[in-house]
């Protein structure tokens, strides 16, 4: 029988476990990087890439700051207070995570053109707007929400007794600040590897440079070296950040603090929260969606008849929607599978990391710094690494390396940094005295885990699963390179169709996708609210 205290004791197994997990996550990257660094022109990455890193760092920094300033208070407020429309607004605010950023970029660009002010949206400010509103703010908001929701009723009550609502908000914000800071850093790192908005708004970014190396020069070696340089720079920045965040990452609960906090109603704060979330929803979701849907609204009487054999008859918007729905039907199952599978893989590995790291600050800092550095590698590199591994493996391994499972694993490995922040936070906030009490009573580890740990970790794991699923849905680069032929996902189908499809069809596909995602998210939030009640 394994004692419950096994998870609280130090031991070499922790470092070994962390090494194993990091090795697993880094393996696809290392496969190509090894080849790249062994290339003839070792060290050469191009002066334009060096310049682009500076611009990308600016975008990442500003977007991260905006994300932290907006996402932290909104996440804390949404977790603490109940107000009308909470579930719907939360679903709408997190919706942008589902959609590849360049679609939002196109939406903003179209809207600005329609309003006659295209000059307002270009260059660095436009990139910051798209990244902040569409990625970093929702990421920080969800993380702050999860951290605040993990507080116990007695903690909230104690703060309320000590200093009223102001004290509650202050203490909750302090509690959520470290994970929110890490989420902002993760969001900033994600902006480093996303070439979409830079391409649309004409900003030279590090991600655009790496994409050029891959897609224009077909030079894996150069792309690999650029990725290695970027990862190295992020690692240098990530270490102090991880050390700073680790110190305030989580406070252990007292053993008896197991009563869950329940959101309360506060009239004035409710108005404030609704207003703030509505503004964020408008900026992050409604306006760019309007831009994407303009062609559907603007489709006039000049629509021409397409050939009879063309499946995309464009006579009427309702036929376009029918065509879009058919495309959704073809790809919906895979979309859910890839998102859900990636979420499961990422959370399992994240929880594994949390178990190995335990409550040891150095291990926590090392894990966070390492995963931040790995996170900044563009998704194409590990995806191509997996392709290379599958190619060099025997045919019997295709079920593992060239199947839909491979897509789930590839996406999940990529998003482990996100899940591990949430898992580490949740694990660190459990009380060690529970394990001590269980050990005193002779409760074996498996029963302690099932009866105590799982219920406590469940809310945070739920948020983590949702967040990873959302981010995985938006990753088209990995799916394009790894998916088995004929098993595409809806976001990838939208991107492959949009090159020369009529604008109405692209708009219809976006509408169906966004509406379906919003309905799903709203349903999930409502269900989770009902479960809490």
């Amino acid at each position: 029988m394994i004692s419950s205290l096994a998870l609280e004791r130090p031991g070499r197994w922790r470092a070994g476990g962390i090494g194993l997990l990091l090795g697993l996550i880094a393996a696809p990257d290392v496969l190509l990087l090894w080849r790249a660094l062994g290339d003839g022109a070792a060290g050469a990455v191009g002066w334009s890439f060096v310049q682009a890193i500076g611009r990308s760092a600016c975008i990442a920094g500003i977007a991260g700051l905006v994300g932290l300033m907006c996402g932290l208070p909104l996440g804390v407020g949404t977790a603490l207070y109940r107000f009308r429309g909470r579930a719907l607004l939360l679903a709408l605010v997190t919706l942008p995570l589902l959609v590849p950023s360049f679609l939002w970029g196109i939406g903003w660009s179209s809207l600005a053109a329609a309003l006659g002010v295209p000059f307002l949206l270009s260059g660095l400010p436009a990139c910051v707007l798209v990244f902040a509103a569409g990625l970093v703010v929702p990421l920080v908001l969800l993380t702050a929400y999860a951290a605040t929701a993990a507080l116990t009723g007695s903690q909230i009550d104690a703060a309320r007794l000590a200093g009223g609502e102001r004290e509650v908000v202050w203490q909750a914000s302090r509690n959520a600040s470290a994970p929110a800071l890490l989420a902002a850093a993760l969001g900033g790192v994600l902006t480093l590897v996303d070439p979409g908005p830079g391409q649309i708004f004409g900003e030279q970014t590090a991600a655009s440079e790496i994409l050029t190396s891959f897609a224009a020069l077909y030079d894996f070696g150069l792309a690999g070296r650029q990725c290695a340089v970027l990862a190295g720079l992020v690692l240098v920045g990530a270490v102090p950040l991880a050390l700073l965040a680790t110190a305030r990452f989580a406070n252990d609960l007292l053993a008896k603090q197991t009563r869950r906090a329940v959101p309360v109603t506060h009239e004035r704060l409710a108005v404030l929260m609704v207003g703030a979330l509505a503004m964020l929803t408008t900026a992050a979701t409604i306006l760019p969606t309007l831009g994407l849907l303009l062609p559907m609204v603007a489709g006039g009487p000049e629509l021409l008849t397409w050939t009879a054999r063309d499946p995309f008859q464009m006579n009427h918007p309702e036929l376009v929607l029918f065509g879009a729905a058919a495309e959704v039907g073809r790809t919906a199952a895979n979309s859910f599978l890839y998102a859900g599978g990636a979420a499961l893989v990422a959370m399992l590995l994240g929880i594994g990391a949390a178990v190995c790291v335990g409550r040891f600050p150095r291990l926590r800092a090392a894990w966070l710094a390492a995963t931040l550095a790995l996170f900044c590698v563009p998704p194409a590199l590990p995806a191509l690494g997996i392709v290379a591994l599958a190619t060099s493996s025997p045919a019997w391994a295709d079920a593992l390396l060239r199947s839909r499972l491979t897509v789930c694993v590839a996406l999940g490995l990529r998003l482990v940094p996100v899940s591990s922040v949430i898992a580490l936070r949740a694990w660190a906030s459990t009380s060690p005295s529970w394990a001590m009490a269980a050990a005193l009573h002779g409760v074996p580890l498996h029963r302690y885990a099932a009866r105590v740990l799982v219920p406590v970790l469940r809310p945070a794991v739920g948020v983590g699963l949702l967040l990873v699923a959302l981010l995985a849905s938006a990753d088209i680069a990995t799916v394009l390179l790894v998916h088995p032929p004929g098993e595409s996902s809806l976001p990838l189908a939208i991107v492959t169709v949009m090159a020369n499809a009529p604008e109405m069809l692209v708009s219809a596909l976006c509408l169906v996708y966004i509406a379906g995602a919003a309905a799903m998210l709203g349903g999930l939030w409502v269900l989770s609210g009902a479960a809490e009640a």
Partner: protein
Amino acid sequence: MTAEVAARRAPNQLALPADDSTKGLFAGCMARGMMRSLRTTLAVLLLVTARSSAAEDVVVYTSVDEIFARPIARGFEAESGITVRLVPDTEETKSTGLVNRLIAERARPQADVFWSGDPVRAAVLARKGVSAPYRSPQADGLPAQFSDPNGHWTGFSARARVLIYNRTLVPEGQTPTSVMDLLAPRFLGKACLANPLFGTTSMHAAALFAVLGDDKARALFESFTTNGGRMLSSNGEVRRRVANGECAVGITDTDDANVARLEGKPIGVVFPDADGIGTLVIPNCAVLIAGAPHPAAARRFVDYLLRPETERALAQSAAAQMPLRAGVPVPAGVVPLAQLRPMQVDYGVLAQLLETLSRGYLKDWVDRANSGR
């Protein structure tokens, strides 16, 4: 204490250890739960690892826009009974792209055929050893100048690089007729083209360098920038911005121009330099992948692509592609190849020239264009 009482406890209370009388019951419940979980996990694993394997299928990677490629694939399926597993590509500025996947899978490919929208990608694959030579019997009648002399890729159904202009912004008599008109003062700040590091624009750039020479081509690009020309992310973006009036004139492909026309946008189309260097013609290319898993089906699909009927279908579709074969009827709105003055280029040489330019002048020009915003 019975297991039922223990189960009714609030979840935040530690369970006391079961006594001997309930150990067996508890162990049984645990075992049944574990078996159920195991069965569910196995079922899910079977689902996700299952790979569809029709009686006979062919895997086709394509850089041709999916909206045009899919009807052709369905036609082949209906005629041959072979399932086509189509893998379309994104625009190059959106993701790394299928060519890199093909190169990475070279040793044990999943693809049988690569249907390329231009000869440059086909030439890259030939150079990297990804393609195998195949001379299809259906290639008879296709002009040899649009195919690889070694048989690694065969050209059919072409697009052309065209100038598009917004009819409400450009009056009659001032329409552009040459790529040089993009430098004209009347289009100051109103001309656009796609990023010349990617796609057909990169091929067009290489062609201009090959035909005009290094100095004149560089002068063209520098003057474009000086004249306030805008570099956009893709040909589709060029089409959108000219159609909505943000730009007055741009360079794009015939399929982009035709989609805008069918949508009723106010654009005009010009095949440039009919009296000068000519219009760049960009053929589709059928490429047989070396070591294809389904070689017989692959050859049948390549043969299907190269038939006159396929050229006619692509001409009649929204792609409005020009048949390379003489005598294939085209609908109104599609300019037959015989009526064009094609630019005289060697596509194999273009591919090599493009590699040099992409690492040199074009990269530098793009960097300056971006930083100039």
